[in-house]
């Protein structure tokens, strides 16, 4: 049950945060690529910074282990990102 409930609760927080930031709206997503609304970047970087501090604090205290970190393969990350950007800017999701 926890295997289902836990990710559902996480997802709830995830969706709630994104909606409250306005990132469920088309114009918020596309405008970051037009430099007219940088909410996406502010939101992303805040999440990144908060999570970074929290995860490494807990890890330094020895309470948690670090998960598998997304592996780096230059061509894949680069080409995938280039394709991804076209879709994201076009669809606005």
């Amino acid at each position: 049950m926890g295997d289902i409930l836990f990710p559902l609760v996480l997802g709830f927080g995830f969706g709630f945060a994104l909606q409250k930031a306005g990132l469920s709206k088309y114009n918020k997503i596309v405008n970051v690529f037009r430099f007219t609304d940088l909410a996406v970047l502010k939101f992303m970087m805040t999440t990144l910074a908060v999570a970074m501090v929290g995860v490494f604090a807990l890890n330094t205290l020895g309470w948690i282990a670090l998960p598998a970190i997304p592996s780096t393969y230059l061509v894949g990350n680069l080409v995938g990102g280039l394709i991804f950007g076209v879709g994201m800017a076009g669809a606005g999701f």
Partner: protein, 174 residues
């Protein structure tokens, strides 16, 4: 507290902090970096197995993204509920087939045009995420918080292609 939950829009710094806490809890409790795009690939793999199994018989679905009702799928379901509750609380919820106001003003109210762009854009986006190994959430944020090079290559790449795409779409229109 309640008035905060009912606000239409939070500062991106506040909302970002909430998502940051979600990441910390997920990594601390389950040891999993939450992501959004993986769920579509898991479900896509299941559909492929059901409709035409040969489609799922490849390295990608066997080893990289095994089909199934995974952790990511439940996160995805939770996202829908969370966003719905947030929108309902603030009275921001409404059904519309064409996003407003910006899309309507620039590209008109044609439904098929918007749905075609979303459909194709969605395929391109998910295809790119599949190659890169994640999307904005799983790779850019989830990798970025460990200072993984993959995350920053991905973020740079998505802006390198996203900026001209948006600029071209809006060329002399707005």
């Amino acid at each position: 507290m309640l008035s905060l939950l009912k606000q239409k829009e939070w500062s991106p710094y506040l909302a970002g902090t909430l998502l940051g806490i979600v990441y910390i809890v997920s990594i601390a409790v389950a040891g999993i970096i939450p992501g959004a795009s993986g769920a579509f690939e898991n479900i896509g793999g299941l559909l492929a197995q059901a409709i035409y199994p040969a489609l799922a018989n490849n390295t990608y679905f066997k080893f990289v993204m095994p089909p199934g009702i995974t952790f990511a799928v439940f996160i995805f379901l939770g996202i829908i509920v969370g966003a719905f509750v947030s929108a309902k609380l603030s009275g921001d919820f409404k059904l519309s087939s064409v996003p407003d106001p910006q899309w309507r003003r620039v590209f008109g109210t044609s439904v098929w045009k918007r749905w075609l762009v979303v459909f194709l854009g969605g395929i391109v986006l998910e295809f790119g995420a599949g190659i890169a190994g994640g999307c904005t959430s799983g790779l850019a944020i989830g990798g970025g918080l460990f200072l993984a090079p993959s995350a920053f290559i991905f973020i740079a790449a998505m802006f390198i292609s996203g900026i001209p795409t948006a600029m071209l779409m809006y060329w002399r229109k707005y």
